[in-house]
């Protein structure tokens, strides 16, 4: 099953439409399930819901063979955690899909390091969706410990001031 998710704050008609067309034209033969938020044009070729509870959302990611989504950090990090191939289409300001173009930068940065695949156009999407399930994402290495230690130290000093 391929899981399509677009977040819940804004609609994303362009992506839902592209996926719908890809199914119609036979680029995608896998089953698709969509979480489409308040997107206006409803898909004709696959089942969908508007929103999912967090648990159900995570279960869909876990059980999916591949994921298609907007370039939201929630989906990117969850997909990476479960080592799933992810194809993102960034929301763009010029189409009124989001307030700024940070998703384009996110998508490019994470694609450059091999964490995700990115498609900006219909043609690009059609080419990449076919190969998506063979994509093996690079795993991330972070240094969360440094941030945790820093915040801990700061809280320690605040605590001392208080005593």
């Amino acid at each position: 099953m391929i899981f399509l998710t677009v977040g819940t704050l804004y609609p994303f008609d362009r992506l839902v439409e592209v996926v719908d067309q890809a199914v119609e034209k036979g680029y995608v033969r896998d089953e698709i399930f969509g979480q489409i938020g308040n997107t206006m044009n409803k898909p004709r070729n696959f089942p969908y819901v508007d929103s999912l509870e967090m648990d159900a959302y995570e279960r869909h990611i876990r059980e999916a063979s591949a994921i298609i989504s907007h370039a939201g950090m929630g989906t990117i990090t969850t997909a990476l955690r479960y080592k799933k191939p992810l194809l993102v289409m960034p929301r763009e300001k010029k189409y009124g899909e989001i307030v700024n173009d940070h998703q384009i930068h996110t998508a490019e940065a994470f694609a450059k390091s091999g964490h995700v695949q990115v498609a900006r156009t219909l043609a690009d999407f059609a080419a990449k969706i076919v190969e998506l399930k063979f994509f093996v994402p690079t795993q991330r290495r972070c240094n969360r410990e440094a941030i945790v230690t820093f915040i801990k130290q700061y809280l320690g000093t605040v605590e001392k001031c208080k005593c």
Binding site: V99, N100, H105, F150, I151, C163
Partner: protein, 157 residues
Amino acid sequence: MSERAKLRICVIASSGGHLAQLLSLKESWRDYSAYYVSTSKSGAKKILDDYGRYYTVTDTGRSYVFKSLCTAFQCFRILLKEKTDVIISGGSAPGCLMSIIGKVFFRKRIIWLDSIANIKKMSLSGRIARHFTDICICQWEEVARKYKNVQYLGTVI
């Protein structure tokens, strides 16, 4: 409990990526008493089960004036009700409102974690909130260099 339990932490982030990133730092405030604020009921439910007390505030953004007023009012009420020492915010707009209100009206300590999604510059929320923060962390070195008093220490994911 030891004296450490005295410090009370407000952890706030919009549900989704913001919340996921902030919660990955949960060890930082493990020794203290924390309560949580997020935006969607489903997101908050998971926190309630795993973490502790939580509040839900209205999800908002820069283009929603009325919603932002609602969120600001809700944040104000939470800070009136909860004894709080430090606010740790992971963004976005609701976290920004909580940080401003926390600093301006309640003189709280504010920690801001800007999302890893902001690669070229800090989020708008972060750029506003940073003037009210005691600690401001972002997750890209080049971004941190652009602002005074913004630190890069690595990434959380």
